[in-house]
Amino acid sequence: MRPAAATVKNPAPILLPPTGAGSVLRRIYALVLRYTYLLRGSGVRLVELIYWPFLQMLTWGFLQKYLAGTTSPLAQAAGVLIGSVLLWDILFRSKIGFSTTFIEEMRSRNLGNLLTSPLRPYELVAALALWSIMRLGVSMVPVAIAAYFFFGFNLLDLGLPLMAFFALLVMTSWALGLVSAGVILRYGLGAEELAWSLAFLLLPLCCVYYPVSVLPGWLQVIALALPPTHVFEGMRAILLHGTFDTADLWWALALNIGYFTAGYALFSWFLHGAREKGTLIQLGE
């Protein structure tokens, strides 16, 4: 049926300046708003955010409880395994948050709209990064509280270093997220599996559940070149010996800056390639 004529008075748009810090923040906010709408509208997504980390925490928490009854002094150290799993989940969930949100844009064939709007690519990246932290809050805070009630493990016992651990892990997750997003942009949704599997590559290498000394010498070199290794080593040092080497964390920060810069460069390169190859007008197909 033919729609009737409009009756609302035509208000001309009041357009804000397209450049400057205010405009950058406004566009980042617009995208975060879009992701908030998406999460708010799906109870299943909300439950899923908490479901897997909660199961992980339970599994490793009970294992810790069982090992505590053995004679190994390492196994008896309170909370090492739960601490490991919670910190690993910060890295993993943040990475997944970044990548899947980007994939969502491609699946919904919305990327063409975004990239023709005044949004700059670095604003898209900033929005994805910010959203990954917000998702992490939704996902990890309830699980960390549950860990306290189920197993008496208080993540806050890690003290101030916890903030540094959190920041370093999230920064690594962004670097990984940028690589995944870039590859998906270049090779399409067929490469989606990479978004899920890339973080798992780090699982054995960054010594989540065991000390670096367990690895053969050559692999230790690779492990120590990964920022999360220093975080997990730091966490074990605090929980087992009550000590903490800040130099290690500075080193991890330097590595993270390098990885993040490389990740952003790779993403930009793939985006440039997508514009060259014309794949941005075929996304989602």
């Binding site: 300046p17 397209p18 709209n113």
Partner: protein
């Protein structure tokens, strides 16, 4: 060149919605767009016509900065779209069946997000107006994915009009609409172009639509511009009754490889 002359021509260029010079896009050995040059004057509606694979969508994608030209340049309001897209993106907008708005978001949520992305300060007012104008008010709180194809097209158009763009790029704007609604949309577009003095570039296969809306037709074939004139002039030059007859005549002759088109040109 005298500096003052150069500055003056720069200012003039900034007033021109689109200037494409020797624009070319090749994918390997395939040339999708082949050294085309054109200019869109303010307040005009120009139709980009051509069969499938003629290079219309690639041309629009280059104007939007979604595709990087292999050679040549595109300037939108004087800005080089390869480098300075951010300076002019808020003055343009587009709608295409090749992109969608997020289906899980409601119409209102989608329009809210895009109003903010385009820097519209009076978001609520504008969303209410474009929704009312395109008869979307009853669907504002419905998920976009639950709408019919025609309603989705109207939502896409609403998004494209949020910032009241000076340059509007449309790719098949009435493709999935029933004839009556399509006709209504055409009236809306004509009304918008006239009241806003906007420039519209329209890719379409619908000749009646083009005849009704366009002041000028750019006819493309195999990536090249083969005609650039008003619909009336083309009909007269080719001695046909409708633009569709002209289109069929030109495209079929091109396909047969005849080269007698030049003889028909004034």
């Amino acid at each position: 060149m005298d500096k003052r002359v150069s500055e003056a021509s720069g200012r003039l260029l900034a007033d021109v919605p689109v200037v494409a010079r020797e624009l070319t896009k090749s994918y390997g050995t395939v040339t999708a767009v082949d050294h085309i040059s054109f200019r869109l004057e303010p307040g005009t509606t120009v139709a980009l016509l051509g069969g499938n694979g003629a290079g219309k969508t690639t041309t629009i994608a280059m104007l939007l900065g979604l595709v990087t030209p292999t050679s040549g340049e595109v300037r939108v309001f004087g800005a080089d779209m390869s480098r300075d897209r951010g300076l002019v993106a808020h003055r343009m907008n587009f709608q295409s069946p090749y992109v969608d708005l997020p289906m899980r978001l409601t119409v209102r949520q989608n329009l809210n997000v895009y109003a903010r992305l385009y820097g519209v300060a009076n978001t609520a007012e504008r969303v209410a107006f474009v929704a009312e104008d395109l008869q979307l008010t009853p669907f504002l709180d419905r998920p976009t994915g639950k709408l019919s194809a025609g309603q989705k097209t109207r939502v896409g158009l609403a998004k494209a009009l949020l910032n009241a763009p000076e340059l509007l790029l449309l790719d098949e704007p009435t493709a999935s609409l029933d004839p009556d609604t399509a006709d209504w949309i055409r009236r809306k577009l004509k009304e918008y172009a006239e009241t806003r003095d906007a420039t519209i570039l329209l890719a379409s296969h619908n000749m009646a639509e083009v005849e009704r809306l366009a002041d000028r037709v750019i006819l493309m074939e195999e990536g090249r511009i083969i005609e650039d004139a008003s619909p009336g002039a083309l009909i007269e030059t080719y001695g046909k009754e409708t633009l569709e007859d002209v289109f069929l005549d030109v495209v079929r002759k091109e396909r047969r490889g005849t080269s007698d088109l030049a003889e028909k040109l004034p």
